[in-house]
């Protein structure tokens, strides 16, 4: 899932202040799970913004709505409120949702209410951690299912650096050394041979280095074309 956290209220107020009627739009998927951008958070944020507006004497009036996914055309029809009736939409989806919805409503300003942080999972109650970087060339087969690109602060591919201490990363004691985890997991699996194998440099062209990426399923595009005819 995509993990995101709410922007500081002051920053949000700074972006919505020029507008009058604002729709706080939640998203029912990932950001609902990580308790940042679901329907409940949309309702709460609308209340907070209205309170702040009253206190500061702003013209701002916030209402809220939520759809299951802001990154999928199918769900746009489920909007109970029409974004075009508002001066701006404060989307509390991830950056994908904000970008996709602003494409659907090109005349309405869409503002981000969250900072999209990483691809992760809830690893303990109240704690989400990064598991994948979306590098475009998955290496998990030989690292015991632990991603060194996402989980090593240096994205090293040939093993630990000298900055590892008691299984933690030099960057912070809160960060596990990914290569220590990989070593322990491969040892447990009896596959330390995979740790020993010399790895060639990563082809970052499959990451962001070759520009924005896309996925094409030709057969699907063809079916749609036929259906239209």
């Amino acid at each position: 899932m995509i993990v995101a956290e709410r922007k500081p209220l002051e920053e949000i107020l700074g972006t919505v202040t020029p507008y009058g009627k604002v729709l706080v739009l939640g998203c029912g998927s990932c950001v609902t799970v990580c308790l940042s951008g679901g329907e409940k958070q949309a309702e709460e944020l609308a209340v907070i913004l209205n309170l702040a507006a009253r206190q500061k004497g702003l013209k701002l009036q916030a209402e809220f709505d939520c759809i299951m996914r802001q990154c999928d055309k199918e769900f746009v029809a489920n909007l109970k409120k029409d974004p075009k009736q508002y001066d701006a939409v404060l989307s509390i989806a991830c950056g994908v949702g904000v970008g996709f919805m602003s494409e659907q409503f090109p005349d309405v300003p869409f503002l981000p209410g969250l900072n999209t942080t990483f691809h992760g999972a809830g690893s303990a109650p109240g704690l989400w951690k990064e598991y994948c970087h979306g590098c475009g060339d998955c290496l998990l087969a030989w690292t015991g299912g632990i991603c060194p690109i996402a989980r090593c602060a240096k994205s090293l591919i040939n093993g630990t650096c000298g900055g590892t201490k008691e299984g933690k990363c030099e960057v912070s004691k809160d960060i596990d050394c990914a290569w220590y985890l990989i070593y322990k997991r491969l040892e447990q699996l009896g596959r330390l041979d995979q740790y020993r194998k010399l790895r060639p440099p990563v082809h970052w062209g499959k990451d962001r280095s070759a520009g924005p990426r896309r996925l094409t399923h030709k057969e699907l595009a063809e079916i749609q074309e036929v259906t239209k005819q």
């Binding site: 602060a153 093993g159 000298g162 590892t164 220590y180």
Partner: protein, 304 residues
């Protein structure tokens, strides 16, 4: 055995106990004092080469390349340290060619402390290659090709190729040592020809490490970081991964009179070298600015 590319390689091949030292370029343009100190204290027959650090601890400063060139100009053989933190493979390979053009022959590949450890925590950490990848890049350049491909999918050919003595590092006193040894194996497989270690203060731990690593056939130069105070030793114990200063050494430093700290520091460094000399092929002395003590350390370690 092919002809040595540098004095350091010749000394290693001759099987002598090799001493290297280290300087760090300044934060600013005033590099002359560091070069002058190196010339005064580190230019001697007993020191085979002098490392120049590369934006050490991620604190912005003048480059290793320029420090190496200035050492060369003064007749001191340099070891170019290169970290993969700040430059991608285009820049690293370009700097390697440039270093060779300038007459630099010894290169030490490192990953580099993370940017968050230094004074520009907002900088983008590059890590396009890891230290193993940098050694692979050097080996490729030596074969006359770079890491890129031409239109036909063949490696790009170079117009003139370098020959380096390729070095790497290891942390012998890491709390979990097997992964360090595996990484060292990979560095050697990629082409590393010698190894300088992180600071070691515990000869028994080092001996154990060397036994575990005895199948790795490259010369190892044990790292000696000159301790400047008991406070520094305590700081390293708390904050520098893989560095353990034993209590006995801490006490020696703490008990030393104020005007006797440097003398004590020389004794400790020299004693460590004497103790570990039979276990390895050399010592890499990192004086952290106390260059003037290096000749005394060498003398006390009976390396003259």
């Amino acid at each position: 055995m092919s002809a040595p590319v540098s004095k350091l390689q010749a000394t290693l091949q001759a099987g002598q106990f090799v001493v290297t030292a280290e300087i760090g370029p300044p934060k600013g343009t005033n590099i002359e004092p560091a070069i002058h100190e190196a010339e005064k204290y580190l230019k001697r027959d007993s020191i085979a080469a002098v490392n120049v650090t590369d934006i050490q601890t991620a604190v912005m400063r003048a480059s290793s390349l320029v420090g190496c060139k200035l050492l060369l100009d003064r007749g001191i053989e340099p070891v170019l340290q290169m970290v993969t933190r700040d430059r991608n493979r285009l820049a690293l390979q370009s700097d390697l060619l440039s270093a060779y053009i300038l007459g630099i022959r010894n290169v030490l590949a490192l990953t580099g402390d993370h940017v968050t450890m230094g004074d520009h925590p907002g900088a983008k950490a590059v890590y396009d290659l890891d230290s193993v990848g940098l050694i692979q890049a050097m080996s490729n350049l030596e074969k006359g090709t770079d890491m890129g491909l031409d239109m036909k999918g063949n490696p790009n050919k170079l117009d003139g190729s370098p020959a380096f003595l390729k070095g790497c590092v290891v942390t012998p006193c890491a709390d979990c040592v097997e992964p360090q040894i595996i990484k060292l194996e990979k560095k050697v497989e990629a082409g590393a020809q010698f190894c300088q270690t992180q600071a070691v203060y515990d000869p028994a731990a080092f001996e154990k490490f060397m036994k575990q690593a005895e199948h790795i056939r490259v010369p190892v130069l044990v790292g000696i970081v000159v301790l400047k105070s008991a406070g520094m030793a305590r700081y390293m114990n708390a904050n520098v991964p893989g560095v353990v200063v034993p209590k006995a050494i801490l006490k020696e430093l703490a008990d030393a009179p104020k005007d006797g700290v440097q003398k004590k520091s020389v004794e400790i460094s020299a004693g460590l070298i004497r103790d570990m000399k039979p276990m390895c092929q050399g010592a890499h002395i990192m004086p952290l600015g106390w260059d003037h003590l290096v000749p005394q350390i060498i003398e006390h370690a009976a390396l003259l």
